[in-house]
Amino acid sequence: MTRRAPRILLLFSDDSTLIFAARMRALLQKADAPSEIVMGAYLPETALSDRQLRQFLPDGRYEILDKPALTEALMAGHYDAIVTSRVYGHLNTLLSKALNRQKAGRARVIAFLGGLDFFPHRGMRNRRNCDAVYLFPRSTCDRFRKTEVRPATQEVPAWPHVGFGHPAFLRPQKTPVATLPEKGDIYFFTQALSPSTARGRMHMLKVMAAIARRNPDRTVWIKLRHLPNENTRHLHRERHDYPSLAERFPDLPANVKLTACTMDQAMRNAALGVTCTSTAAIDLLREGVATIIHLDYLDRALDPLVAPMQRLFNDSNLIKPLDDLLNLRFSSPDTDWLSRMFCPPDLGADVLRVIEALNGSSDRRPPARRKQAKAHTQP
């Protein structure tokens, strides 16, 4: 008997979730080419610009889902699974009802963390009603098993299933460089919340300008997450944007430039990546690019992200003081730390196995997909 290709809905609503969905789609397609992957924009929480949509979905092929459409996607048997990096309030409400959870033909919900989560407690609670939850680093998986997984009973097996990994956290395939490549630019990956003060951000601009003056043969790019007029409804709003600060900078060297290119574009000619608390550090490591995490910027005491970033990257060898940053002195990442943080590259295949197991084990699926089935849902 041939296995039916699974139909999977990938939800997104802003740049973070869209990047996740695009990466997840690539992994699932790589693992199982026949699977049908549908991209779905969740309308009530959409915060995306034309540019971002064109960048990640140039073919414009995606579904737009409002609350009733999301309910139908979950309940009506159109999909085998919904994979998401954000458990939207409406989805969580639906999953919190036993009547909805136990209904035959319901799509299984696989929830990932949004990214590097500095405060995972809330994220773990939001995901406890899903069918499978993928977390990282490994310590967070252990904590979730202890605090959120409901133990097995005679009637119901333990749930949710706990997996390890994230599409942005695949074990690096490239060996980290030991010395700075002769060619290539320096990228400073900015973050919406860190540094939190205007003078902290201005200080980072001064640092980048100083590096640019010392390295006139390289361009120092200030890699913006988004342009100042974009993402005004984003969860993390930027109070002091770099383009405005750069305008106030008196003598910014010509080889310091601002860009809103994609991460992939930045990786292509990055010799070194610098960040404060951005998860770009992970992308850099995955691509084998030399990485420096700098947390000693001005007003670090006011930044609530410094302590969790320090905790997560403490044993990584990547956190460097200002003197090392200015002189571009970096270290290779610690291998034990890497194995705790990054998952094996077959994450897509693992997710497909879990979807199959969840749909198979429940034995509640209807014999054939009823395309126009009316969803009876407990609101």
Binding site: R199, L302, P321
Partner: protein, 70 residues
């Protein structure tokens, strides 16, 4: 949640007050003051100032070695 908060009676009342010809300007000035980085006590703390001074010194030393212009 934030959307609901913005629609709340209290927030709408504050917004109306901020447009009031008499109380609007001082209220807006107060909000600007409260939103300023310096509204956080940690901004002025001795530890923070000492840390900032040390970082500025490292940067100044490096810049002096390099020279201001390439």
């Amino acid at each position: 949640m934030i959307k609901n908060l913005k629609k709340s009676f209290l927030v709408q009342g504050i917004y109306r007050l901020s447009r009031n010809p008499l109380f609007g300007a001082p209220l807006r000035a107060l909000v600007r003051l409260l939103r300023h980085d310096g509204a956080n006590a940690a901004y002025w703390s001795r530890t923070n100032r000492r840390h900032n001074r040390a970082q500025r010194a490292v940067l100044a030393r490096f810049e002096a070695e390099t020279g201001k212009r390439p």
